[in-house]
């Protein structure tokens, strides 16, 4: 019997708000333990939550970005369980009334695209971190992360294999970064993912028994964990066994999943509406206001680059991996009005140089105006592409230098005066009488030699096409 995998992902996106979801404590990553706490974060008696409006804004923005319906009447619910890194003994989350529902996102794999449904997005607070020290047999709690806002995105079980899961997660990461609501950094935990996986015979509609895989903390491991889990379940089913519904943990060292010991079982979280937080009513005007701040989404931007700017699919893809790339491209294009050149200069020269120098794009020293200006000079044939590269290399080291300054210092002016070139051509002819004779006798291969000599004599500044043209003209005269 052939089986197919049915996969749904629960993605936790940590928002990049300055303060926590229900209090004014800060959210900086990497602070000393327990530095970002206040009465609420610490779960002190009498502390009360107040919703951070930015979190609602972000949830609406993501909801719109993922084509969701936005709920008007929103309530927060308490989810109860005891753990030292959960200071109040409950997590403030949303239960059966999530802020966003019924969305979808498109993933593309080698030209074929698939739509993955989004069941819901809800707002909640993160827990703190527990650190277990086996050496001293003690546990330590850091509450810096407790109360950091999260959006949990629950996909429909529309994903069919590990590759699709990876693509889905990449699209989610791209969108949250694009919208500017999260840095989507899996290593720092600002993007986390649990996978629900089940297998069923091909053609069967009913879902099989699922296992939930937790603790997947990198893009690489998403695929590894799913591949392993599919193989594990397939083996069980092929051998006539049954898959148990359970939570499993992914072990990144062995790249396998194993059952989570203890806890869970039939956890009863006793959800109920948080009486400390009145309902948040989202009027249409609020949604409209957020909609107005909505950038063109990466998928639309990509189409625009292909259709309007005639870039290749690949180039468009590269430029839309990050919104800052795409914004930078737009800005460069605005100055030079040449999409192809802009794209080439950004994706090969600039990206190459940044990579070589280990500079993050966010610290890119070349402003879009400068790069646009440089490309414009090439286009207007004031300088050659080669000269531009020379200028670019100087600029990346000394970003404060002016292009015109460099041109002057290095004498990088393209010679485009025919008469000036004619003088050079005749000088080369004079200095290479032998080759000129051979050339006149019909050795056409020597044409290139003369072009090279003239360019050399001009120190590379002569415009090659013009050199070509004038050599031909002068030869005609001699003949």
């Amino acid at each position: 019997m052939d089986y197919e995998a049915v996969i749904g992902l629960e993605t936790h996106v940590q928002l990049n708000t300055l303060s926590k979801i229900f209090c004014s404590a800060g959210t900086t990553f990497g602070e000393d333990p327990n530095n970002l706490i206040d009465p609420l974060t610490f779960g002190l008696p009498g502390a009360l939550p107040v919703v951070n409006k930015r979190v609602i804004d972000s949830a609406i923005l993501l909801g719109l970005g993922l084509n969701c319906q936005i709920r008007k009447f929103n309530r927060f619910a308490r989810k109860h369980y005891f753990y030292p890194d959960l200071p109040k003994g409950y997590q403030i989350s949303q239960s059966d009334e999530p802020i966003c529902e019924h969305g979808r996102v498109t993933i593309e794999d080698n030209g074929t695209s698939r739509t993955i449904g989004i069941t819901r997005i809800h707002m909640e607070e993160d827990a703190g971190k527990s650190i277990h020290d086996a050496r001293t047999n003690s546990s330590l709690v850091d509450l810096n992360r407790a109360g950091v806002p999260l959006l949990e995105i629950v996909s429909q079980p529309d994903i069919r294999n590990a590759v699709e899961a990876g693509l889905y997660l990449k699209v989610i990461r791209q969108i949250v970064r694009w919208l500017g609501i999260s840095d989507g950094n899996m290593e720092e935990g600002s993007l986390r993912c649990d996978a629900n996986i089940s297998l069923r015979p091909v053609g069967q509609l009913k879902f099989g028994t699922r296992a939930e895989i937790k603790n997947i903390n990198s893009f690489k491991y998403v695929e590894k964990a799913i591949e392993y889990e599919i193989a594990r379940q397939l083996k069980i089913l092929k051998e006539g066994g049954t898959v148990i519904q359970e939570t499993r943990l992914f072990n990144s060292e062995t790249e396998t999943t194993h059952e989570m010991r203890g806890k869970e079982g039939a956890a009863d979280y006793r959800y109920f509406a948080d009486p400390d937080l009145p309902p948040v009513v989202i009027e249409e005007s609020w949604i409209q206001k957020i909609r107005q701040t909505m950038p063109v989404l990466p998928s639309e931007k990509k189409l625009e680059l292909i259709n309007t700017h005639k870039l290749t699919e690949y180039d468009a893809e590269v430029l839309t991996t990050e919104r800052e790339f795409s914004d930078y491209f737009d800005a460069v294009f605005k100055v030079c009005k040449d999409a192809k050149l802009s794209c080439n200069w950004i994706t090969s020269e600039l990206f190459g140089a940044l990579k070589k120098l280990h500079i993050d794009f966010s610290n890119n020293p070349i402003s879009s105006e400068v790069l646009g200006e440089l490309i414009k000079l090439i286009k207007e044939e004031v300088i050659s592409g080669k000269m531009a590269k020379t200028i670019f290399e100087i600029l990346i080291e000394n970003p404060s230098k002016k292009i015109q300054e460099i041109i002057k210092e290095k004498g990088l002016k393209l010679i485009s005066d025919p008469e000036e070139i004619r003088v050079l051509v005749n000088e080369v002819f004079k200095n290479n009488a032998d080759n000129l004779k051979k050339f006149l006798d019909g050795n056409n291969k020597l044409h290139g030699f003369f072009v090279g000599q003239v360019l050399k004599l001009s120190a590379g500044n002569a415009k090659p096409e013009l050199v070509n043209q004038i050599i031909t003209e002068e030869l005609k005269k001699i003949k």
Binding site: L44, G46, A47, V51, P84, P87, F272, P275, P278
Partner: protein, 480 residues
Amino acid sequence: MFINKSIKELRKGIKQKDFSKKEIADFYLSRIKKFNNLNAFSHIHPINEKDLNNSDISSDTLSGIPVALKDNILSRNNPATACSKILDGFIAPYDATVTSKLKSSGAILIGNNNMDEFAMGSSSENSSLGNVLNPWDLNKVPGGSSGGGAAAVAARLIPVALGTDTGGSVRQPASFCGIVGLKPTYGRNSRYGVIAYASSLDQVGVMTNSVEDCALVSEIIAGFDPLDSTSVDVPIPNFSSTLGKDIKGLRIGIPKEYFIKELNTEIDTSIRTALSELEKLGATLVEISLPHTEYAVATYYIIAPAEAASNLSRYDGIRYGKRSKDTEDLFDLYCKTRTEGFGTEVKRRILIGTYVLSEGYFDAYYIKAQKVRTLVANDFKEVFENQCDIIACPTAPTTAFNLGEKCNDPISMYLNDIFTIPTNLAGLPAMSIPCGFDSNNMPIGLQLIGKAWDEETIFKTAYLYEQTHDWHKRIPKGFE
């Protein structure tokens, strides 16, 4: 020399240098010490001498006025344990909003009052510090849960005490101790820094000897607080300006469901006498019906424990307060700490609350209770829209009962709040004021229930009524 002096009189005396702030504080501190047999205080705050050694009353209404806080209201650097062992050793690192309002108004915070653990109780017998005595009869309870504050105000150990009222915890002890106690409209006062019992019902209230003092302090602690999402942004009221205004034509609703057979006949008589006094003052009495009254107690005992079980989850022995020793693992630490830290009544309510929120029972109990809560609230809405401007009724069905009398009968204890609980469910303001004494010389309380945000009508009515008698000026024997 300060007994029965109003806040205004004390203020005037300080201004005229008849006496000093320090003399007032010392007077009350010595009385607290002298009458510590009442067990009304859980903690005495160290007082900054600087706050006492001046006669500055500038614009601060409560300059030099001693105030006590219920032990569940946080004041920075002082203990706040809600009289629970689980908060043993907890020192508040911040001020509740009501506390900081009192401080900036010049009040001298003298100490914390004893109470039922986590405000769960109607007799102040559920305190980790032992029970409070009623100054009118030392064999009787002062009511609860704000029993320490009520007993202290009645015995003139303090002129003002702040309590909290979730199901009657300010009004019922006020009634039992013969003082004035107001539970304002839900959302009127900030709950920030007040140890939560049941968040959707809790409200801080003021206990004093007179309606005027109650108005002065109530308007100081009122107001929207950005730190409490359930506080409401309405204009800060001026309660004192309504005092002395007439009540001619005021329609007073008398709910027939509150005059039940369980109601003590002496209370019945006393309330009816008070009603006729109000009639003489120009009010009209209207019989009304609040048909869902009988379901209020049952509804309360689902909603309040559910919220309490959740609110008390944070007391886990991890970060502050008590932590049991010699525990084997995390689970054991939680179990032992909570088993040793919580008292019987608190455990009972945590269990009830956990049960009603459990999967499979949630709809049948919690959701159903929420629906009934709406019906109870609608009862009030209905009569206030069509029949009356204020409601008058007894505060409690009995006067103070004997110590230990109801300890082993939680249901009978719960039923003592039968007349106070409905207003908490509906979020309405209500006040208990003295309206006489029974044959055992125990105080009786008249309850006035107002429309939402209409404490003014309550104050106006209560003040005029108070002028017709001197019960509020009587001092328990032995405390003169």
